[in-house]
Structures are given as structure tokens and as C-alpha cells.
């Protein structure tokens, strides 16, 4: 919504890198911003090769696979043991995950 404009469609500005980093809750140093701007621009340029394809005759699709209705029956299976659930957590306060104090309500569900 507030994404700063880009000079060229594949050229990422440093402001855009900072914006994406912020959305991803990543702390980046000034050096990293410069480096990632260049690297990510390269990635975008590479992917932009796809723009050369003529897709005029192809219907828009929601998925590359020509499949639909992959569904499962509503049969529950037991959850993992709490120990396993918390095993990889960076912080734990059993039986909960422990996270830094959250002040604002950014929940989107």
C-alpha cells in the first residue's frame, strides 16, 4: 500500500528492502540493505525472463497443476506430545511457547 515507487520494475530500492524487512520482522544493517537490494534485484531480473513468454492464448489459472478438489475426510488424529511441540521453540514456558512481550495487536485472523 505504502510501497515506495521503484525506478524500474525489477530494480529494488533500498527503501523497498527496508519495507520488506520490516514486514518480515527482520533487523537489517545499512550494509545488508545495500547488498540485498542488489541481490534481490538480480533475482527479480532473472524471474522477469518469464515476461517474455506469450501467454495471450492461455486462460488465467489459479494453480499450475490441472487438478481440483484434493480433499480429506474430517477424521482427527491425536496431536503431538507437548514436549515434541515445544522441542524446536527458541523460548518456552511450559506448556506454552515463550515470545517477547507483544504490545500492539497486529493479529489479522
Amino acid at each position: 500500500m505504502t510501497q515506495p515507487p521503484s525506478p524500474k520494475s525489477t530494480q529494488l530500492t533500498e527503501a523497498q528492502v527496508r519495507h520488506v524487512a520490516k514486514l518480515s520482522r527482520l533487523t537489517v544493517t545499512d550494509d545488508q540493505v545495500q547488498r540485498f537490494a542488489k541481490q534481490l534485484t538480480d533475482v527479480l531480473e532473472h524471474v522477469a525472463t518469464l515476461n517474455k513468454l506469450d501467454v495471450g492464448a492461455i486462460e488465467p489459472m489459479a494453480h499450475a497443476l490441472d487438478m481440483t478438489n484434493v480433499l480429506r475426510d474430517d477424521e482427527p488424529q491425536p496431536g503431538l506430545a507437548v514436549e515434541a511441540v515445544l522441542a524446536n521453540a527458541p523460548g518456552r514456558s511450559d506448556p506454552f511457547f515463550k515470545v517477547p512481550k507483544v504490545l500492539d495487536d497486529g493479529s489479522g485472523a
Binding site: T2, S24, L80, F97, P100, K101
Partner: protein, 510 residues
């Protein structure tokens, strides 16, 4: 709204409230939306300990794949059909990205531009009489997030936050209406109507305290002054989980927005919407501190999930499951069965009790009688025991017997109540009501020989001479006093109607 108009009466403005609703309903499937871990919104798992309903998909582990729960799709179709929606021929799944501790994989799977249900309408009852039609924009399926808490269990102060992921991945149906409400009460009535519909469909238990339904009203005010129309900026109130909070938040915003407009003249800008929370204690809305980019969700189609295509045959199979909807049922109960609105609603509001009521009707009990027995004899005992009326243990057959015994004057009304109680006693399981009535001496004595003795005794009592004189003078009211005495002598078992006739006959000789 009379009160608020009075407040602004001297400002020369006319104000009209405009509210649209977003409602989240947790579906009570047995397993989660995209994986087979148990669903905390299903009654079997209400008491599950924190973080016990998790599997690798819920935890957002690398390499896992979501698989759609077919029943969640069908439950959503049921709600869509009940709300008069079109069911989409094709629906797809999108990722809504945001980083928050209650969302382990950093995106929520939702439906962005192809919701499962769209363009519906539903009638809500109005305060006075009649109904109002509310237009439904869409109803789409997504997954709930986990629960983030800032206090330890039991309200213990902690210097960090804690997360329980039991709720993460619960199927969540988001229903969005047009801004068709012009009072807080209408919004509340819509919420209650929707709750009743979901409960009657069996797609949600609708327990507000458990967060089964959450409301997000979008509120603004249309102000007219000196022939000009102004619209105040739209405010969305997040996550209201009670009807009281919903009502309070809308009323508060109505006042606040008018005051704000009078003070600043701020009006709506396209696309701009601010978010506020509701403080349940202070009863005010509070602006939520937010960075604008927090809403940069970067929706894109989820490559892990293929579209769902719904054909007519599937829709018709689901449509066949639709029960009689609450408002239709209420109309039938009041207009055809002759119940009053209060009784009809009391039964319909509890789908399982209502089903039991229908069974009692099928057993052959007259509807008004059946409703009265369940809502008087039944409700008070259910209340005492802390269970629902259909769980008391009394059977439709026994209720039929009690009704017949009463209709035949074999038991009086207080005896019918007592007999109902004996039928609910687990020790009396399998016995007929009549046998229990006999066992507990509840059958009325209609044996004229025995009754005549009591009547004679009472009439002969010199203390009653004046009353007898009154009766002779044609005062029917006086009979009551003697009737009471006969009932006492018979230990409450005399048939009152018979005794009354007998007194009249003996005193007046006719």
C-alpha cells in the same frame, strides 16, 4: 438512538448510523481446516491442555503440506445456503502474509478473490414487528490463528508473552455484510440470528465465551447539516466476542464520531479505515497503534493448494442437509402450533432441546401442553441440575402419559409437576409414568364414595356455617375455602373439580 439525537439537538445536525458487519465463526469440525490435528472448537476437545492439538502442519514446519477438510467446506456451504448465498463454482486459496507470534508459518490461508459463498441475504427480526433484510457480500473460509496471552495461567504477571497454538488452524468462516444496519440493536440481532442459524445447522456450538463467534463492525455516521451530507471516517472495531461489547462499541462510536466531526470536520477518505479496540471495563473504543504497512498482506495464490470446484450435484447434496431454519420454525410454532413467541424462541434457541420437543410432539402430545411442560417442569429441573432439558432422563412417552393423566383429571397440576420429577430420576428409568404416579400416591381420588365422606365432614363443621350460608346465597367464590379443606383431608389427592361439584350439589341441592 433517541438519546444520542437529543445530545446533538442544538447543533442543527441530523445523524444516521451506518454499520456493516464482519463475523468470524469457528466451525466445529472434528479436525482442523488443513490437517488432521483435533479442532479445539469441537466439544470433544474443549478441555484439551495448551499446545496438545498441534501437529507439524499446525506448527508450520518446513516441508509440510496442507490438505483441505471436506466437511469444513460443506459446513461453509450450509451456512452460505442458509444465508441465501450463491455457492461459487470455483474457489481458490490465497496466502495472507503477516508476521505475528500467533501465526507460526507467517501467513494465514484464506480466500481473497474467490470466496466460497457470495451475494446472499438474510432476514432479521425487528424490535417491533416484521423483519429487515440484510445483504451478505461474501462468506469465505480460512484458518484461525493461535492464542497469544500476556498473562500467565490464573492471571499471573509475566514479563513476556506466551502462545497456545491449539486454536491455530481451526476452520474459520468469515461472513461480511453490506452496511445495512442503522442501529446497534440491529447489528446485535443479526449476530444472534446468525448464531441461531449456525447452531441449528450444527456447524458451530456458538459459545461466545470460547470465542466461537467474533464480531468486527465497520462503523461510520452520515451527517446532514444545512442541506449538505457528510460521512465520517470508517472505523473498524476488532474482535468483539460478546453481544454486550458489540452493542456498547457501536453506540460509543456513534457518539464519538459525531463529536469528532463537530470538533474537526474530518470526513471519510476512500480506502482509509482506522482500527479501534473495545475496552470492556471502561466501555470505550481505543485507537489501535498500528503502522500502515502492517496491512500490506501481499496476498497471492497458495501454491500448496489446488482450487475447489463445486458442481450442482454437490450443492444439492448439501442443500438436502438443511434443517428448518430458526425464523421459519418460529413462524410455524407460533402460527400453526399456537405457541407464544417467548416459548417458541426458548425452544428454538436450543437446537437439541428443540429436537426433543419435536419428539414429544411426535409421541402425540398437544404442542402448547408439550411446550409448557418442557419449559416449566423441565426447565427448572434442568437449571437445578445444570444440564439441558433433553438430558433430564424423562422420555417423550412418559411426557405423553403425564399429559394424558392430566387431561383425564387423574392428576392435578402440582402432581403432574411432581410426577415429571419422578420420571427424571435415574432410579425410575424404564417405568411408566402411571406406575410412578400410583407408587407415589399422586393419582387423584375420584371415587365419589370416599370424597363424599370428606365433603360431609367439612360441611358439618360448625366453623363453616357462614361459608355454607354464602354458598347458599349463590356466592361461588366461597366454595374455594371448603374445597381447600377437603383437599387437606384427602392429602391433596381429591379431584378438585369433582369436589367442587359435590359441594355445590350438597349445599344447594341441585
Amino acid at each position: 438512538m433517541a438519546a444520542s439525537q437529543a445530545v446533538f439537538a442544538d447543533t442543527g445536525i441530523k445523524a444516521r448510523l451506518m454499520v456493516g458487519m464482519e463475523v468470524h465463526v469457528e466451525l466445529s469440525t472434528r479436525s482442523k481446516m488443513f490437517t488432521s490435528a483435533p479442532n479445539v472448537a469441537h466439544p470433544d476437545y474443549y478441555e484439551a491442555g495448551p499446545n496438545t492439538l498441534c501437529d507439524p502442519v499446525v506448527l508450520g514446519m518446513p516441508g509440510v503440506l496442507p490438505v483441505i477438510n471436506k466437511r469444513a467446506v460443506e459446513m461453509s456451504m450450509l451456512v452460505g445456503l442458509a444465508l441465501g448465498c450463491e455457492i461459487a463454482k470455483q474457489t481458490k486459496w490465497d496466502r495472507k502474509s503477516y508476521y505475528y507470534p500467533d501465526l507460526p508459518k507467517n501467513y494465514q490461508i484464506s480466500q481473497y478473490d474467490q470466496p466460497l459463498c457470495h451475494d446472499g441475504q438474510v432476514d432479521i427480526p425487528m424490535d417491533g414487528e416484521g423483519t429487515k433484510t440484510i445483504r451478505i457480500i461474501r462468506a469465505h473460509l480460512e484458518e484461525d490463528a493461535g492464542k497469544l496471552m500476556h498473562e500467565g495461567p490464573g492471571g499471573v504477571k509475566i514479563d513476556h508473552s506466551i502462545v497456545d497454538l491449539n486454536r491455530a488452524g481451526t476452520p474459520l468462516l468469515e461472513i461480511v455484510t453490506e452496511p445495512d444496519f442503522d442501529s446497534a440493536q440491529q447489528a446485535v440481532t443479526f449476530g444472534q440470528t446468525l448464531r441461531n442459524i449456525c447452531r441449528s445447522l450444527g456447524v458451530s456450538e456458538g459459545i461466545m465465551q470460547k470465542g466461537h463467534m467474533r464480531f468486527e463492525p465497520n462503523i461510520n455516521v452520515i451527517i446532514e447539516k444545512d442541506g449538505q451530507t457528510y460521512k465520517t471516517p470508517i472505523v473498524e472495531i476488532k474482535n468483539l466476542n460478546s453481544f454486550k461489547a458489540l452493542h456498547g462499541a457501536i453506540e460509543y462510536e456513534y457518539q464519538r464520531q459525531i463529536e469528532d466531526w463537530l470538533e474537526t470536520g474530518r470526513v471519510m477518505k476512500s480506502g482509509a479505515k482506522s482500527t479501534r479496540g473495545w475496552d470492556d471495563v471502561k466501555m470505550v473504543t481505543v485507537l489501535q497503534r498500528e503502522k500502515e504497512e502492517a496491512h500490506d498482506y501481499r496476498y497471492f495464490p497458495d501454491p500448496d493448494l489446488v482450487p475447489v470446484v463445486v458442481d450442482d450435484a454437490w450443492i444439492e447434496r448439501v442443500r438436502a442437509e438443511l434443517p428448518e431454519l430458526p425464523l421459519v420454525r418460529e413462524k410455524r410454532y407460533t402460527e400453526q402450533l399456537g405457541l407464544n413467541v417467548k416459548d417458541a424462541r426458548a425452544l428454538i434457541d436450543e437446537p437439541k432441546v428443540c429436537k426433543f420437543f419435536e419428539e414429544v410432539l411426535s409421541a402425540g402430545v398437544e404442542p402448547k401442553r408439550a411446550a409448557a411442560m418442557l419449559l416449566n417442569y423441565g426447565a427448572k429441573r434442568a437449571n437445578e441440575r445444570g444440564c439441558a432439558i433433553h438430558e433430564l432422563g424423562v422420555t417423550p412417552g412418559q411426557i405423553k402419559e403425564i399429559a394424558e393423566l392430566a387431561a383425564a383429571d387423574k392428576i392435578g397440576s402440582s402432581a403432574a409437576d411432581e410426577l415429571f420429577g419422578h420420571c427424571c430420576d435415574p432410579r425410575n428409568q424404564g417405568q411408566t409414568a402411571e406406575a410412578l404416579a400410583e407408587k407415589h400416591g399422586l393419582l387423584q381420588v375420584s371415587d365419589t364414595g370416599a370424597l363424599e365422606g370428606y365433603v360431609k365432614e367439612v360441611l358439618a363443621n360448625p366453623k363453616n356455617a357462614k361459608i355454607v350460608g354464602d354458598i347458599q346465597d349463590g356466592k361461588d367464590k366461597a366454595i374455594g375455602a371448603l374445597l381447600g379443606q377437603v383437599m387437606k383431608l384427602s392429602k391433596g389427592q381429591a379431584n378438585p373439580k369433582l369436589v367442587g361439584d359435590m359441594i355445590k350439589q350438597q349445599v344447594r341441592g341441585s
